[in-house]
């Protein structure tokens, strides 16, 4: 799994590339926690290039989402599709996660 960060004004977009599985999902969690330490307040997690997700990956998203909710900060998850969408649907968490269509929409939504 590869993580790349881009920036659009005060919004940080994390492009996740590859497989979010039991061996590497913690990396996303660690990255977001470091970003929160740096007082970043608006984050987009872009799952466009994620081909595989398992319960560890879903667990990482739950952890990130609940931490950001508790802190009153802003998070959007984009491009949830294919087997990633199916796995989230099986856990019935589509309504729990702050999901929006794509990065452009997410940036628009998070722009004051």
């Amino acid at each position: 799994m590869e993580l790349k960060i881009r920036k659009s004004s005060d919004i940080y977009i994390i492009d996740v590339n590859g497989e979010m599985d039991l061996y590497n999902s913690y990396k996303l969690k660690e990255l977001v926690m470091k970003m929160l330490e740096k007082k970043i307040q608006k984050i987009v997690i872009n799952l466009e290039s994620v081909e595989y997700i398992d319960s560890s990956g879903i667990g990482a998203l739950i952890y990130i989402c609940s931490t950001i909710k508790k802190l009153g900060l802003k998070l959007l998850i984009t491009n949830v599709r294919g087997s990633v969408k199916k796995v989230i649907e099986l856990t019935k968490l589509m309504g729990y996660f702050p999901i929006t269509g794509n990065v452009i929409e997410a940036v628009r939504e998070l722009t004051d």
Binding site: L22, Y23, Y52, D54, S55, V87, T91, K92
Partner: protein, 181 residues
């Protein structure tokens, strides 16, 4: 059928029938869980793989046996029985651990979780998105079995000891096509 799906515990359940199933034995090597899964899922016809959903669901069952059942002890093995057709996937995984003894507790937790979802109470749901015990670590998502009881539509059944789990999924029959000569 009830909308609330639960984990069953019944050694005599038909899903434990090993007739006509292939079997393999693996060491409890956490690093190789996805490799073991691929060795099994390669036998499945592409129609039922749903990209990699079948692989992912099998991997979760194997991970639970290696990690939570055998505590990744290399001296302990897991045994896997499996059979696939275009209409059904079945899997039995047995570990050498003490058994999953919190089945009633897990079912009660899942019932609460589903109630939060039904009421769209996302604030309370935050307490039920992940099933954790004192043995859980940071890499445990705590959600694998929520998905498993939804995915394996023939059931998720543990034996009486709790160290062997059988799952099955029936896939919709494809409409018969007309063969053209």
């Amino acid at each position: 059928m009830s909308d609330i799906k639960s984990i069953l515990q019944e050694s005599q359940h038909p899903l434990f029938s090993r007739e006509s199933m292939f079997s393999k034995e693996f060491p409890s090597d956490y690093r190789q869980i996805r490799y073991f899964t691929l060795m099994i899922v390669q036998k499945a016809p592409p129609e039922i793989k749903e990209i990699n959903l079948l692989e992912q669901q099998i991997s979760e069952i194997i991970k639970n046996a290696v990690k939570h059942g055998n505590h990744s002890d290399p001296q302990k093995k897991i045994r896997v029985w499996y059979s696939f057709s275009t209409e059904e996937a079945r899997l039995i995984v047995e570990d050498e651990g003490d058994g999953f003894t919190a089945i009633d507790e897990w079912n009660a937790f899942n019932k609460e979780r589903l109630a939060c979802l039904a009421q769209e109470d996302y604030i309370k749901l935050a307490d039920y998105v992940s099933y954790r015990t004192e043995k859980s670590d940071d890499n445990d998502g705590g959600n694998a079995m929520f998905a498993a009881v939804e995915y394996w539509n023939e059931g998720v059944v543990f034996d009486d000891k709790g160290s062997c789990v059988a799952v099955g999924k029936r896939f919709p029959k494809k409409r018969p096509g007309i063969e053209l000569s």
